[in-house]
Amino acid sequence: MRLLISLLALWMLAAPTPVHAADITSVPAGLNSEAVQAFKRGLELHKAKAWKDAIVEYEHALALGGRFPEAFNNLAYCYRKVGMVDKAIDLYRVAIALRPIFVQAHDYLARAYLTKGDKDAALHEYEIVRRLDQKLAVCLWAAIQHNDPDYHDMPWGSSMAPVPVVPAGAMLSAALL
């Protein structure tokens, strides 16, 4: 009986956990304030699409010990935007190593592979995104279909942009991959 009660309590503890898209603007607690300030300056420049200046600030944040997934991901995004795709891919991989189910990093990495013309690698990343964020996956699939890395690129996450209309047949073939 005690065992049954224990198992019931565990079952109640293990309530389903919703999957939320990561916020690429978040900063982990416990970082030194200079690194946080540099990261936030980087974010402002990033939002203003001042890619080169944002790179300087993100690099500064990393040098000050702000080695968290969002910093690597955002830096990679800026490098991709200035055409340094190989560097961006390396940084996305670091972000993903730190947080393996970082959905935006997978999305952007797929787009970086698309830029390099590596569609197989992009589709592998798409498979991961499809498991984590359906809305983002629809946008990424549209980008792959259009062979355009910037197509429905959402720098601030899936909640910030409209979802493209994708033909049902295209989504079915995506699901069957």
């Binding site: 079952w11 503890l13 389903p16 730190l98 498991r131």
Partner: protein, 131 residues
């Protein structure tokens, strides 16, 4: 004689594995688990995710009630070793993305394979009567 302290050590990972196994199987974390396995290039990620969820749930219950502790603890320890190698090692030992927790589960799992952390079968197998 079974030490209550050692039984408590067995129950810690039992609770952790039951909750994690349940979440992977029934708690809506299956897709996240598959995504993780795709990320670290584990073979057959879909099937592996179901297997790992079942292993954690069944292994956790086994640790809780003390049956088949040795083989299941060994399997769970192997799982933790793979988790450290494939996922946790690049994240460092301490900090927000540490592998210390996984290492702890691995070591307790290995300790449980010794057979002296309690359990119905272990008592019969390991402890020979004194003359």
């Amino acid at each position: 004689m079974r030490s209550p302290a050692l039984v408590l050590i067995r129950l810690g990972p039992a609770i952790i594995f039951i909750i994690h196994g349940y979440l992977k199987l029934f708690g809506g974390l299956h897709d996240q688990t598959v995504a993780l396995f795709l990320t670290v290039n584990l073979p057959n990620p879909e099937l592996t995710a179901w297997f790992i969820g079942a292993l954690e749930l069944v292994g956790g219950v086994a640790l809780l009630v003390g049956i088949f502790v040795r083989p299941l603890a060994l399997l769970l320890a192997v799982e933790m070793a793979i988790a450290i190698y494939k996922v946790r090692l690049p994240q460092g030992f301490v900090g927000a993305w540490e592998f210390e927790f996984t290492l702890l589960l691995l070591l307790i799992g290995l300790a449980a394979t010794d057979g002296r952390v309690g359990g119905v079968h272990n008592d019969h197998v390991v402890h020979t009567p004194k003359n």
